[in-house]
Assembly symmetry: C3
Homo-oligomer: 348 residues x 3
């Protein structure tokens, strides 16, 4: 499964980038070094010196320039060598490394790794993790699976009862078959439970007592390449109040078979200390099933797909796969356009 | 070295298969899941769900059906999906996994992995490990070598004195050059020692005192693909009684360069508790040189053959290789017939 | 980067070869077993028995013959099988392994692995590590990098201040730009510091007090394929005496991406106990930055070059690379001649 290059991806959470310590991360199968300059502006460079291919992330970061650990050439955030400590100090024109466009939004640093110029990053529905307006808690995991396979798992609400029986699943939620929609390149997967005995993890995350009976509606929004927002709305039977929890799930290919998985939960700052407590609880609570149940499953699937190769029969499709099928079709079309050099189709 | 598909192989010892816990094992380079149904009947399925390629061996086994751990589809022993817990429960016709024919004999579950229909499993000379009639002790090891290379080692009685000087070898046994015969596809390798001071492991295994002088005759029977029976007959100088020990050595390719090695020792049930003690002693005693001396040698040979590739000079043949040469020729002929699509030649 | 075969390489330090224990080492991507016979003469054989490819280095070494651990065939230093313990003891003509020409010089055993006959090993400038005349201390490390990349690092005096700031580098040494010369196939790289506050490691290595001001001149001599001699001359400001330290750095490809790195420091025997103490101090002192700073850098470079493949832009060259560029050109010419079958060009 090819990697779509013509897209913004999360390179790191904003708080991971520092001005005194570079961060090394493999993104879209390329080694990248990330840092901030003295003004806090984030920068991303190819992680090897053009002179002798030493890894720049092992160098020292000073005043917004990164020094090569091998021979001391210094590079600024544009990738230009700005200091050669040897001889007459002449800097050859070729002494520059590739710099990647970055964009800081929603508490994350986004990277553009395609050769073509970047489009605008415009994802207003992720405002709920904008740290200017919201209290946000952040999570990070790495999957040993392709980014599309990893996104499939998030778009698929039908596995909760089987893979996560003790945390996210319930019989009432399993009883619904789910609904799928597509608007342009956006895919929605929805599933509702009526009169559900809320799973304790869900109830506690909303500040509701154990044993609460409620209607629960889950809506997953997927946008290419693999940016997901999950909204859970709970209406307790004993009340007309609606409790809403929103989480963002942002996937970035590390390689063809591994993925950086950034996730976050946000609540309005107006909720004060409670927002901090509840988002932290939700991220901690999501991390356990993700790490202990989804990650091993994704790795096993990736190994099975790798092994099956092209000789394998196509996977059997079920009605529960409606979201995945739509998202995959959008990606196939985008990858085909990219391969054909037409990366900016007119919106339909 | 290709894997012969047109053959029965041991998939597991019979006691390894349970009706409450599936067993995962890679066989002939395919992932397989093995289990018993509620009637104790053994089943073997391809170890991935046809829906999303999840490993079925991580699922739950209930009433003879195996549930996929990801979305809860359930499969019976024929590989058919018999339950879809989602929506209207419709099961698509394609929702089935490959089931492999099995046969339970000699305390083992045998598997047939070729696409063509299985032949009859008829190996009466292994009756000595039939648990109906005999007391049997079982062993299992894994070699990091091709199955034919692993079988070579068992058919070769000339390495005992060099690789196993402290357990199986003796100067008297080394003095014999060995004899080889072939009847149809069966190959025999024999070696005798006259007036040998029995190695302590051999003497104790037969209940004889240390220091016993005896004649010892070893006969190895090999049948394709790599099923071996070893008979050791000992006649102490001080007696006319003959002590016989029989062991089975059954090899199954795990991959092109690794092998499941099943071995067992059997004695008539009539011997009662003594049979249990003696077969357990023999299996324990064989395990040590197999694991500590043969396995590292086989792994080193495999690495050397891998590295030498086709550019290497053919290995030098010695008269001691008479058994191996005959067995290899039988296998070459069978593999060539299989490649040509003629897998059932008339017996000569 | 190809491996030049038409050359002498160090296979081992002389003291590593014993007459009671064979030494296994991978050299030029071939498994080799090294040992001495009863007369102390060193021998090197391909490390697998021609019979069944067992690794000979696991066998027993007795009276200058090496016994195969699997079937007991014995080989002498010429690679000839001289004993078959089986049957009538006949030794087939093909029962021999390749023996490699060796030469013992400068406390090392040198090996010739090309098919063509060896040239004379004539490297008189390494007399300072001749154990007949000198007190010598020896070091050994393994780099996870190609042999030419490993040699580049030694020929490059400009990285000291950046990679080894606390041991070998100094501001005064960094201030010099270096000079490069080539005589025939020999390349020189030189760098001087005037009025330098000697780094403590350098001062102590010469028996000078901490805080010594001195002129320091470093000269690196490189000869193909990757044999380097480094001479450091120090003249303290307070004296007219010159202190000289000489080290040898001899590189042998283990594989295309790993290298045996043999290094040694020698002083005249006339210095007695002091020579022993000082050479041991120097080798210990060099080992720390080599192991902790150069080795990780070389491994990172190798990974980056591997990953960049041919698609990468050529590395940027700086004036400090003058030595490396000259040495690489010599090697390119020699490799091209070797590929063309002309390995003995007339000296220019």
């Amino acid at each position: 499964m090819d990697i779509l290059k013509n897209a913004w991806y999360v390179a790191a959470w904003a708080h991971e980038l520092r001005d005194d310590q570079p961060l090394a991360r493999r993104l879209l199968d390329q080694p990248v070094v990330l840092f901030r300059d003295a003004h806090g502006v984030p920068h991303a460079l190819a992680d090897h010196c053009p002179h002798r291919f030493a890894p720049l992330h092992r160098g020292d970061l000073r005043d917004g320039t990164l020094g090569c650990p091998y021979h001391g050439l210094r590079f600024d955030g544009s990738g230009q060598c700005v200091h050669n400590p040897h001889g007459d100090g002449h800097v050859p024109a070729a002494a520059r490394v590739r710099a990647y466009p970055l964009c800081e939004r929603f508490g994350a640093v986004w990277i553009w790794m395609d050769e073509r110029p970047p489009c605008t990053l415009d994802l207003p529905w992720f405002d709920f993790i904008d740290p200017q307006q919201c209290e946000v808690s952040y999570g990070y995991l790495q999957t040993q699976a392709n980014y599309q396979l990893s996104a499939d798992n998030l778009l698929d609400l039908s596995h909760f009862q089987f893979l996560h029986p003790s945390t996210l699943g319930s019989a009432a939620m399993a009883a619904d078959s789910g609904r799928f929609e597509q608007n342009g390149e956006t895919v929605w997967s929805r599933r509702d439970a009526r009169g559900e005995l809320l799973p304790p993890f869900v109830a506690r995350g909303l500040g509701l007592p154990d044993g609460t009976l409620a209607d629960r509606r889950i809506a997953v929004r997927w946008d290419p390449p693999c940016l997901l927002a999950i909204e859970v709305c709970v209406t307790p039977a004993s009340s007309s109040m609606e409790y809403v929890s929103r989480s963002a799930h942002l996937l970035t290919p590390e390689s063809a078979t591994s993925t950086h998985y950034f996730y976050a939960v946000g609540l309005p700052k107006a909720l004060g200390e409670l927002a901090r407590t509840m988002t932290a609880y939700a991220v901690t609570g999501l991390t356990q099933p993700f790490r202990d149940e989804d990650l091993p499953m994704l790795a096993a699937q990736q190994r099975a797909f790798d092994e099956a190769g092209d000789a394998s029969p196509p996977a059997v499709l079920l009605p529960i796969d409606g979201g995945i099928v739509r998202a995959r079709r959008v990606m196939e079309r985008k990858l085909a356009l990219e391969a054909a050099g037409q990366t900016r189709p007119h919106a339909p």
